[in-house]
Amino acid sequence: MNIMLSLLCLMALPAGEAVHHVVIVLDDSGSMGDALTSDPDTTKLKIAKNALALALKDIPEGSKIGLCLLNGQYDPDQRRTIRWWIPFGRVNKFQADQRIRSLKTNGGTPLGSAIKEGCNQLLEAKKTDLYGTYRLLIITDGEATGEEEVEKVNNYIPDIMSRGFITIDVIGLDMAQDHTLSQKVHNYINATDEMSLVSGIKSAFFDTFDSSEVNFSDPKFSKEYELIKALPDELAFGAIESLNDSGNYPVGQKPQEGSNVGFVIVLMIILALAFCLLAFLFLAIP
């Protein structure tokens, strides 16, 4: 069961803790400057800018948002090229709108690197904001360029998906066929014009969730209780705590296993050696 909640309902609420954490990875490659198939008078980037600006207006107050570009652009204020066109955090909607409107096209499609950077930002946020939603929204008109970037995408997406708490949405913009990511992420939309793009971006801000509680009308539901019968309360609670506190190591890395098991084995070896030494001394000394 997939349940969709109304964005309007969320907006009616006052700002509280940061509930929504969204990183938008936007393709700013050269091809985004091409004319749109359905409307040759405009470009893909132009409708992307319009759609983002419109969507921003409806984002719930207090959300933390960031706009990460594939290539990055020169920022005259900072006098350098930056990838985080809107730094991740609570945004000033007016300033964000201005930033979006100043975007230009530039470069190739280093999709893997941008996904990693955007996602790591969400993982970092999860360390302090334990709850809420975490979404990575990718808007692109093409596949990753270069073998290295393709490999990165192929490695990073399953890694992110396995962590569980980040939802990945992809909007393929004016693509002749579905993006290869379409089968690998949570949600995929193919947008062909400004309206469908706006609708796609907005739908990415709707919270959707699968059933997380057992359905008592399911005749087999009691089997689920049988499964956890042998799990002591302390372990059950500990497992929940551990799941909540973990999984936020950077994309593409695995935490080093400084295992307790290893420690126990080393300790046992040391104890065994000490025992042998004592036994030797006991036997050797008359």
Partner: protein
Amino acid sequence: MNRMAVLLVLLFACNANAQNIADKLGPVTPGPVDDKRPIQVPYFTWGGDVAAFMANGNSLRTKPDSIYGMLGLDLKFVAGDNVLEQTRRYLSGESPYWRGTLYTANQLLEIMSASEDTTPVCIMCLGWSLGDYVVATEDIKTMSDLKGATVIYHSGRHIGLLSNVLKNANLDWSDIELIEVDDLTGENGVAETFRKAVAEGKKTAACVITPDMIGITSGINEKGSGAEGTVRGAHVLDAARSDANVWLVRSDYLRDHRNNVEKLVAGCLQTVETLQKIRNNYEEGDNSGTFKGLGEKYRNVLRHAQVVFGKNTLPTLEVDAHALMLDTEFVGIYGQAGFFENYVDEITNPQWDYRRIAKIADIPYDVETNVDSESIYSFTVKFEPNDTKFNENQYALNFKRAFQASSGDTTILVEGHSDTLLVLTEIIKLGMKNRMLTKDSEEETYRLRGLVITKELLDEAIKFGKFDGDEEYNPRRRMQDAVILSQSRAEAVAKAITNYASSRNVDFDESKLKVIGVGVSRPLIARPINAAESRKNMRVEVKVIRVKK
């Protein structure tokens, strides 16, 4: 009439809203407290007072082996529903204690403070009453329809309530035909008089307590059908302002017998803990379909309440007596300090040392670790699996109380939760699929990589990614779904609270609302063993919390 008595009447008459009370009270001569044993303590026909009976050994007169008896007290509980009568007894010294609502206490404060000795000190909040109601015939649809109606009430218990209702309806006492009855309940009580007036074809309303409200209308959101004693078309016109129920004591008695007053409070707080537990066990067992009866302890308590309040008021233990108990929102030891800080302005505060009281009562009191120590008021909204909808009407009184409690420096924390079952089963399923976990069929336990599973080993395995999900099983994904579900539940409750405020023109600062969904992180039961236990986790907790300046 002596000078003091004249002064009392004059002082009270200054308060226009309480004119009727002053007239009815008449002259009273304050006197010294009669401290011969047993000491009289007035009670109300209300569930909160049952905690004090329980401390007294389920008896009006203290039993030697009861909590109060063991503390060396000798008390006699006497009917106090007629507040005017008990105020006379209080002033004359017949009883050092006064029992009533905080609203009435404030109205009577001047008259009770006639001398230094009689000046009242508020010693305890027994709890909040959720159930004083105005019921009305079908032709009274709004408060303004009360104009010209016959209104029946018990002045001792409900004069404050009725004066408030009239004020809100912009009506004067002269706009209604008032019938005052001497008995709150029973054959000559408010409900019976209401039925007689209706039979005479009068447009009628009445101020009643919960059992009578149920007897007349069938329930808060129901309409009487005419069957089983209900009045056809009768309905609840207003779920009256809930009020704090308090004990006051005379200053002279507190000064001379502080230890005994402290024991009265401690004993009651001790039974509040127990009574809440046995009441909630019965209620939750009943609701979850695992009904196992009242249990001996609870049955004894309710049976005694039935004896004291009368079988006419509480015909059955399981429904009527239990409903009277549900009407009470107890304030335990952790809520007492917050109550005094937030509600008691005019009346003197005894400045109890609650650590000392907890010691007398033999109950835990650790404000450092108790999360609820800063909580002024809280309630829980229950949900069905995966559902974010709930019956808002069912919680209307709770919303009202939350607004009342949220005055001052407070935050209303709305915290959503969901059940842990599927997250845990996902861990087990993934672990077994990856062969990280095996089940020892003989010992009925799980092993992790062949080792006896411990919290530390499991923690390490999870943290090092051994339980990161795959396409089939993903515990963290399930956990994230639970976070969103709980957030949605919390937002639904927050929205209902704001809707309630705007629909009733309640002046409410929405920025006080903090809404959060914590998923499965703070379950009431970490490892549920059946549907009833899972349901306990499917909830939203609303807490009004004091914010430190």
